[in-house]
Symmetry: C2
């Protein structure tokens, strides 16, 4: 089993894992009126604080147009509020409202319980290696991005 073969096996797993993960998150979110994408936006705001739409897009490796739609929905639900952006008059900074934050924390809590069971049979070293490999994948295949909007920072 060469390293190339191993990489190949990993790549084949990405699609099904992604799909099941998305479905699981959806299931957990069902009824809350929050989609997987909306949840991701809330995450960025919870971690990074106030951000403009294009900033969020870069963090999530998505187009700003996609984020715009999610932000609009979240704002309509009262989970986000806009504030002035000293750096750009037309591009407001969005932040979680009190409602948004508590909703997000509720979500995170149920997710964490789910994760406890998931990680039990896995070692810290395995998890650390996985993150390294996934980041390498992300970076390597960024070469295929034609749109600079999609070249998010990896910190």
């Amino acid at each position: 089993m060469t390293k190339t073969d191993q990489a190949y096996a990993i790549i084949q797993l990405i699609r099904p894992v992604h799909r099941r993960l998305a479905r699981a998150v959806e299931t957990k979110l069902a009824g809350s009126g929050i989609s997987v994408g909306m949840r991701a936006v809330m995450e960025i705001l919870a971690v990074k604080g106030k951000s403009s739409v294009p900033e969020i897009a870069r963090n999530l490796f998505l187009k700003r147009q996609q984020i715009q739609l999610l932000v609009n929905e979240l704002e309509a639900k009262g989970y986000l509020e806009r504030g002035p952006n000293p750096a750009h008059k037309r591009s407001p900074l969005f932040a979680l409202t009190k409602d948004g934050l508590s909703e997000f924390e509720r979500i995170r809590q149920t997710e964490n319980m789910e994760l406890e069971a998931l990680v039990t049979p896995l070692s810290q070293a395995e998890l650390a290696s996985t993150e390294v490999v996934l980041r390498q994948l992300l970076e390597h295949f960024s070469a295929f991005e034609d749109d600079p909007d999609n070249l998010g920072s990896l910190e």
Copy 2:
């Protein structure tokens, strides 16, 4: 950094990695008239040999309806041919034609060259751990599958 936090970081990477991977594969496939899904079906047939549509679906963790569409397209392109299925009169077994096989091998070859560069900075141990973790993710979140069609075997 707890294991739960690590798992969380990994989960957040799955979506962007999946998207970039899909785009990279598409780019490589551009012009050949083969989509990512069609390529995945060819892969199964190359590895597992003759299979029925539902069998392929289980292998790829997808619904048979989805596979049916891909198989139809591949057959129309002359990359697949159907043969009798001793186990089921109405459900033929599909196999790669000579054309299909050579096309698939051509694809695999260019992919392998790409992978060489990808795996260079990664160790065998890291890659092995990643596969373990991804399989655990896949298995764990299979609990959210309501459709038995989607419960593919992990061998």
